[in-house]
Symmetry: C2
Subunit: 452 residues, 2 copies
Amino acid sequence: MEEDFETQSSSQQLEAINEALSSGMYVHVRKMLHHMPAADVAFLLESSPSKTRAVLWQLIDPDFHGDVLEELSEDVRNGIIRQMMPEKLAGALEDMDTDDLAELLRGLPDTIFQEVLKSMDEQDRQRAEQALSFGEDTAGFIMNTDTITLRPEVTIDVILRYLRLKGDLPKDTDAFYVVNRHDKLIGIVPLTRLLTATSDMTIEELMNEEPETIPADMPEGEVAKLFERYNWVSAPVVDEDNHLLGRITIDDVVDIIREEAEHSMMSMVGLDDEEDTFAPVLKSTQRRSIWLGVNLVTALMAAMVSDLFEATLSQLAVLAILNTIVPSMGGVAGNQTLTLVIRGMALGHVGTSNARWLINKELAIGALNGVIWAVLIAGVIALWKQDLVLGGIIAFAMMCNMFAAGLAGATLPLIMKKMNIDPALAGSVILTTITDVVGIFAFLGTATLLLM
Amino acid sequence: MEEDFETQSSSQQLEAINEALSSGMYVHVRKMLHHMPAADVAFLLESSPSKTRAVLWQLIDPDFHGDVLEELSEDVRNGIIRQMMPEKLAGALEDMDTDDLAELLRGLPDTIFQEVLKSMDEQDRQRAEQALSFGEDTAGFIMNTDTITLRPEVTIDVILRYLRLKGDLPKDTDAFYVVNRHDKLIGIVPLTRLLTATSDMTIEELMNEEPETIPADMPEGEVAKLFERYNWVSAPVVDEDNHLLGRITIDDVVDIIREEAEHSMMSMVGLDDEEDTFAPVLKSTQRRSIWLGVNLVTALMAAMVSDLFEATLSQLAVLAILNTIVPSMGGVAGNQTLTLVIRGMALGHVGTSNARWLINKELAIGALNGVIWAVLIAGVIALWKQDLVLGGIIAFAMMCNMFAAGLAGATLPLIMKKMNIDPALAGSVILTTITDVVGIFAFLGTATLLLM
């Protein structure tokens, strides 16, 4: 039965385990979990409601807890470790990669953090403290310390004998680092070079003498961009004096790339990118309420603009009916521009050298959009309400608002970045406020001037 | 001067080149481009308006064109290759990785495609035709054919001599594949194992006999999930009879992960994930117009719902003023749920086994949100408009709409996926239509019943 289980796809495994859980076959579930790779167990936990998660966690072999913790996303992991006893947690953290260890410790409440640190062995504690001494989300924080270093004068023959003696190499080792007697990085030898070299050559003859390095204080987003652009599998991390500190591997970078890309999408509706799909109701409601609160304020602002034209609205109900069309179109057009500019900024394509060009382009699109949709909506309204003047009024408002949408969509993210505000988080709500206010003002204002 | 240039950051390089271009120093720009890695030149092209791009392309050494094309995103690349002569293009394609070659050819108009294929040498043509024979966005399409295969009976000693003779190994080689005489994959030897083995061992003794393989017809999104979950650097691709066809490397997977994550964000405002930030105005306007057209229809639908209550609106202008608040709040709450569920589905966390739980959770959040924001808005309106009944009406409408938002946000993506519609593309617009209609109907309907 277990062999069958191993060949199943993740979603089939998920269903099989859920079925076994709901019929109370805990021993069976324990067996199934025992046969799954840590990454699959982590996936199962991430796909389960929080109550099921707690049950599953109890059924996982404690020796295996550390491996599973390493694979979990931040939000889910923090939920689990807050319920573990500090000593058990410290046990699970043994042999964990430095970067995962640091990230995990960072998520702990202060009191537990101190207890766990005390329960750890000396070597692990030192590794953790070093990583934590670097700023959060910097290269120093996400690096691992499991590098293999060589001296330049050694021959390939000696190296190969040393490696055979050593046995296993650290995961994702694709290069050895060459350091001088002061631990300064002076070169890199790719594994593939070592294999194709003759045995009497020295490391110095083989090594690449101008290795690409990552400064320990580089933000992780920059690190990810370098890996992505130059297709690296691993890269050495150095301090300001070029001392080798550790290395960053592609598997950690993949996580950063996914997080960064998700961050923009989630932020635009006011969610955290680590948001747990299966968090409890109260926690989720609380997290989402800030964004809804902000939106309530902006919706009230839009209502207040309409309120200025109460006299007009009370005489012409048709204006009330059409009042939402122009703001809605402006919001969509503006959000298109905003999304494109935010992505361009995230990829590094948009900067000071081409910002002016981009703003001009988006203004041109805004103007063109304005003309196109003004003509269309004028036609629709003239036909629907049999009123040419009304069609003209809504067309004029549409043009104003489309232009405003292009301007706001292109400039807002650039301005916000200068002010160190995350454009993905607040850009959309500010933009919608602008297009709402401009749209209502242009429509009801023109109508008041012409029809009253 | 060139040496200074090499140590500058990308954005500084960008500015230096733009300055040199605008002052007409073309020879200088040509020199600068000559000293940049292909990835940096590609980045420069992606960050430039289309006119500048054409000028830059002329200044790049033609021997270098293929390398740069490999690094460009689809939209930008297609713009460039459509303006190249077929023979020149065929020349640039020599030595390109199979996967990039196939992707590039796919982007060509049919007539040029045939011409380019004719101008290619026999070996390249065969590689390209094989890749194109697999479905677009499958493992077979994105794999490379540059694998190194070994036979099980050979000793390490022989292998090492062979590798020394061969010299260079393909990029990102982290494992050798072991095949039997029928070219069937029977094992994998990680490079690191080869280094730590003694020279008289055979490949058979060293190899991992149950290698993880990727079927050639697996969709690229699934491939990316496997790489991400199991932290692979490369993996072999096989056909249904386990014949080795090629391998997929992490650098291509990183591109897929970024594209998939961006796809959801861009789709939610109706943009293509390959959308070029610096595309010409007309092209951009055209691409965005479909989404604006859809939105116009839904905005008109909302207006028509208001139109049903024209008699009420003409008597109570205050309703017109407050009419946008409830739909706006429902839209935000619904989009939060929608975004979370779409991301959960993209990560594979949300499936049939937990869909019901998730819907119940989102309904509970919707109900809770409804109560919270109903109380708040009732208070605000009662104070602002000095009208308790009005406050009660808007509170009731808010509760209905928040519940509808939770229901629609959780169920829409699941229903759409069953119907094979991309939820990221159309989910948001359908959701907003629902929350607009429910919000307006609940608010104006209740007001008509109670106040008229």
